[in-house]
Symmetry: C2
Subunit: 325 residues, 2 copies
């Protein structure tokens, strides 16, 4: 109910809405309206209350919270639940728990803080309170397990576009799923799936974006950055809103089998094409020169024997050898 009131106030941010109007539209008592308004104020929304006129939203809180998350997610088909948490072990773990209990739901988990945030291959991902956007999308496209790599590309394109919409920074994509500013990582994506041999049960897209950190540990300071450190002030709410809009478009195309815009986006933003990289598989590490990103999302490289070779994201990691991660 609180998020519905917030919605009404946001839609009417040019004028005042009386308690009577709100209670009429939502079918609740004026006392209930008053209580919800106070609760919104406690969450950081600045709401002006004037006798005989009513309420007006002067300023949204800048961070995602329970009410604003529900407002932001309104209208997206692939979001049937939106869960906000002050703190969580990791948003991917929470999304997995929901996925196991609710076999058909799709939705989103956002947290202010992760106490055990995870990067790829079990690595730690620092995610302190209010310092970034820590989120996981739980989606259930009816596809084969090998579609998971392509969805990672969709998410990377969506977040890159969102960061460009919210800042003036130049965002690079280190194929397939790290976003880079000035050679340092600002966003990582951890895609996990649960599947049978020939059908996905669900995919969880875990996305972490560093927003407000200024100090990084010594081991991270060469490799990681935040929007603030790069001179951009973006709220988690603003970024999440922009991401949902851009992801939604790319994801719709993907579900129709059309990856052309996503791939073009990757090609245009790649910091990998035209670089010497290391192709790292569980078995060996080899050097290669990256020629292009193919229409199916795989990487076209010239290997150390001088032959053209195709690299699938399901098979290897790529490590740059020119400064970036």
């Amino acid at each position: 109910m609180k998020s519905k009131i917030l919605n009404l106030l946001q839609m009417n941010s040019n004028g005042y809405l009386s308690g009577e109007q709100i209670s009429g539209v939502l079918g609740i008592s004026r006392t209930a309206v008053w209580k919800h308004i106070n609760s919104l104020k406690n969450e950081g929304y600045i709401i002006d209350s004037v006798n005989n006129k009513g309420y007006k939203l002067l300023s949204d809180t800048s961070e995602v919270n329970n009410s604003s998350l529900k407002s932001l997610c309104n209208g997206y088909e692939f979001i049937q639940f939106a869960k906000f948490l002050d703190t969580v072990d990791s948003t991917n773990s929470e999304a997995k728990r929901i996925a196991m209990d609710e076999l058909h739901l799709e939705g989103i988990v956002v947290a202010d803080e992760q106490t055990n945030g995870k990067g790829r291959l079990g690595r730690q991902w620092t995610s302190d309170k209010n310092s970034g956007l820590w989120m996981s999308l739980l989606i259930r496209p009816k596809l084969k397990p090998d579609a998971a790599s392509a969805i990672t590309l969709v998410a990377a394109a969506g977040m890159t576009k969102a960061l460009e919409d919210c800042t003036k920074l130049k965002i690079g994509i280190k194929w397939p799923n790290d976003l880079i500013i000035n050679g340092k990582k600002v966003c990582g994506i951890l895609t996990e799936m649960s599947a049978e041999i020939n059908q996905l049960h669900y995919i969880i897209l875990g996305i972490g974006v560093n927003l407000n950190q200024v100090n990084f540990t010594e081991s991270l300071s060469d490799k990681a950055t935040s929007l603030k450190k790069e001179g951009a002030e973006v709220s988690s709410k603003q970024l999440l809103g922009a991401f949902l809009a851009s992801f939604s478009e790319f994801y719709k195309q993907f579900l129709k089998g059309d990856m052309s815009q996503v791939i073009a986006f990757h090609q245009a933003h790649s910091v990998t094409i035209g670089k010497h990289v290391q192709i790292i598989s569980p078995i060996e590490t080899r050097e290669a020169y990256v020629l292009d990103i193919n229409a199916d999302g795989s990487l076209l490289v010239k290997n150390d024997l001088g032959e053209n070779e195709i690299v699938f994201s399901g098979e290897v990691s790529v490590r740059g050898i020119n400064g970036y991660i």
Copy 2:
């Protein structure tokens, strides 16, 4: 502790073990030994107790239970926990819950009854109390997600060999993972996985074998059978013991990258090779004639255009059109 006492009794089934000997070996009091012996008797083990001689196991219970499961699993590297349940929603679901809580454990779940047993693609799997072997193995090979299909073949070969070791019935394999007696299904395998793009987190091999059902519902009676219906009396304990032994051998080879024996076993037992089948994908259904199973486990067919074509288990289901399922 109870399962350790059972182990001692099984190893000494030719003579009597005194309470003093048992208490000495296990470092527990003679009263504790006596209590555990009584508890084993309550579970159905027939144990002779003679004054001044001690205890002798006259007869094992025929069904898997908590103590016997632990004894059976003793010594297998890929089993670090063994959980027996009288009843469970599904052993795969229980194994998933354990997999999420214990990030490194491998092990096994066996239940007397599944209230919500599952076949592939969410289909129901009837699994009444004491009527079959309902089990799930949780394993964590450090491999890429596409290895899951091959592990299904390993499990199918292991269970086929176990059924041959325990009965004189001719067992057929409907590629990749259904076991057939006289044209009817006696065992199904549901392989589920959790993974990142390029690394498996875990695989759950759910295996259901019909042992004692005599009456099947009308819709199932043409398609399903049980060992008992085919004239063989095999206990769940006997079958599980045989399966763990044969699976363990095939799985060791698989982990070394050697699928040759598993594939040869599939070729020798295939009810699919030399048959006209339907190749069913999410997009279309086509007829084909099966020529062979390839060295990598894929199916070589002649398609309806007369061309040779390779079919991967990750891509299609195969439905026979000559009577079997």
